[in-house]
Amino acid sequence: MTDRRDDGERAAGPAPVVAFDHISKTYANGTVALRDVSFSIPARTIHAICGENGAGKSTLMKILFGLEGPTAGQVLLDGQPVSTATRDFAGRHGIGMVHQHFSLIPTLSVTENIILGHEPKKGVLIDRAAARAKVEALSQRYGLAVDPDAITGRLPVAAQQKVEILKALSRDTRVLILDEPTAVLSPPEINELFSRLRDLRDHGITILFISHKLNEVRSLAESVTVLRAGQVAGAARLADVPDNMIMQMVMGRPVEITRREPRQVTGEPLLVMSGVSLASRDPADRLRDIDLVIHPGEIVGVAGVDGSGQRGLVSLVTGAARPGAGSISFDGEDMAAASTERWRARGMAHLPSDRFTQGGVPALTLIENAIAGTDGDRRFQRGPFLRGGAISEAVAGMVEDYSVRALSIGERLDSLSGGNVQKLIAARELATEPRFLIADQPTRGIDVAAAAFIHKRIVDAAERGAAVLLVTADLDELLRLSDRVVVMFGGQITAVLANEAHLTPERLGPFMLGLEDMP
């Protein structure tokens, strides 16, 4: 797409600090995470790595941090090839990483966390004075103020992140990797972090900044490499390219989209959420001031980068979480405190995003998975005993209706392919003729034919009058099925758009990446 390979070589003088040379990574299960990735990062710069979830950013950083080895290709540090995935690789080569989920031990003090693994010693004991002095010196040099004696777990998140950065810098670090470091911070804290990172660069540290937030990339980094589907989709100096070009690289080329016939929704909405917020330990699940209505027969698609609050939203309408504020009603009934059982009794059906941990039980048979949740159903149960004949007949019917390809209904669920598992779960959920269907990433990772089949069943459910909440990272799927699209970013709804012909992934992009906000 651009002349990315030449970038590092053109700059005369010393070899780049980090260079990836034709790196490929294929996991044992056949997943190809990286495909022939080559690019380099000059010293004393802040370099951003962008891409959607699953684009290969994390795998590449795991290789650089030495947690995994590449299947092919090599990593060069200062122009020298190094073998990664060796013990304490990162520590020996001066590579520090600030993990998205901190790698701090909450029960230890700040000093203990920072010296862990390379403790200064005096005889058999830890030299506490030296350790403390080291932390204070680090803290002073890089302008990251922390209390060396505080118990780490009791500090606020922004302070814990400073500790994490100091820990990453504590071993003569020259390359610092930050994985989505702003996800846990508030806007003023982000500004503070960025000015500290610029200071670090001025101290001679090369920074790799992993993010999917374009505005942050632009305000911090000098250059960017975009990964898509395990490959380098483009590289650029940020001063040279406009936002929409980077976005194009992140999202890929637009695909021809066949939309569903637009429908006129009438009458009262079935689901009404207003002013809903959700508190959660995981910032990716937090919600703020959500207003959302879904009418009978309407498919509302939720777009957003993974971790923008979709999981929190789904947990609220499936009875897995209770809102901190605001109201949720279904068919006029207050459901804010409703259990999953009550939601189901009102006609909720749920196609969960993870079909093997939430959707079904891998080690149980198709029969057992297909009747899960029907306990007490008179068709399948007489007294305490299950009616084997009636159950087999019903499940065989489901398997046929949904063309689930299986040798027998007595097989274990995990002997099926992903698409067939998803079809069986869809069969189970839709067998109840739901009034409210939640389809969370309904076709992720399954083949095209199975996906088309599930799409048709979702549309059928809506046409029978079900309100459908479709959460998906697949924009093609979103635009194919939805009547209306809401975009989430940072736990809020940033846009509500009618799915009309001029709505394209490019139009959704800025909302998904937090560049634009619809008041």
């Binding site: 304490d88 990162a90 031990i105 029960t107 693994g117 403790e119």
Partner: protein, 306 residues
Amino acid sequence: MTGLLNIVADPATFATVLRVMTPLLIAALGILISDRAGVFNLGMEGMMLTGALVGVLVSAWTGSAWLGLLAAVVAGGLMGALMAFAVNTLGANLIITGIALNLAASSGTTLGLFFATGDKGMSGALKSGVMPSIDLAVLGSIPVIGPFVSGHNVLTYGALLAVPLVSLMMARTAFGLRIRAVGVDPKAAATVGISVKLIQLKALILSGVLGGMAGAYLSMGYVSWFAQDMTAGRGFIAIAIEVMGMGTAWGTLAATVVIAIAETLAITMQTLGLPNELMQMIPYVVPIVILTIWTARGRAKRAALK
């Protein structure tokens, strides 16, 4: 009532408390180390029992109580290593491994005793050694206090000395810091280059060493023979003590004192004509009550935080 007072003020009662305390304290400190490393040593009872038999046998064969103690400690350490191997290398379940060690030790020591003496119940026929008592010459001659502090078994002093040593090791050495890190978040510890398996292996060996020592005290200090299943659940009481001590050495000492006093009361108050069975319940009821109260308080605290 005066009967009770006489019992409390008697140096003999104090000595009984210390005698009861010694094996519990050593074992509980062993459990503490394993617990903090994230590999709770549920096999402590079996390690103690094995240490008790090995100590008696080796001291009888060599004529040296100290060599018996050394052998008991080595046997305990080997059992700790075996537990680490089963759990970390073979991937066995930690709890099941602990239970298996206890069951194997119970029948294994009976078998060993039978081979060595031809008796399945007691080692009375063997001339085994006893760990010496120590007279603290100067301190012992102090009026009133002297009889309380002097003249106890060397392992009793060792157990009391182990409290500050374990405390210091956990708080101030790199090994202790790594144990604490590994026990809370092994993945985070591994990212800084710590070998989680190695730390857990060392912790379990140390735990087993202390278990062997606690067992040796039972058969070569508390009494001077080995009897079938003579640990009588002390390894499990030590678990309760470690939990009550909240994972700290000093807390474990405090909890041991409470349990030992309860047990001593159970022994001495039998002389006051109260029902035997009721008294024997005390050492078991006390930890249940204390742990119930603490769990309830912990819940209330967590609820208040929300």
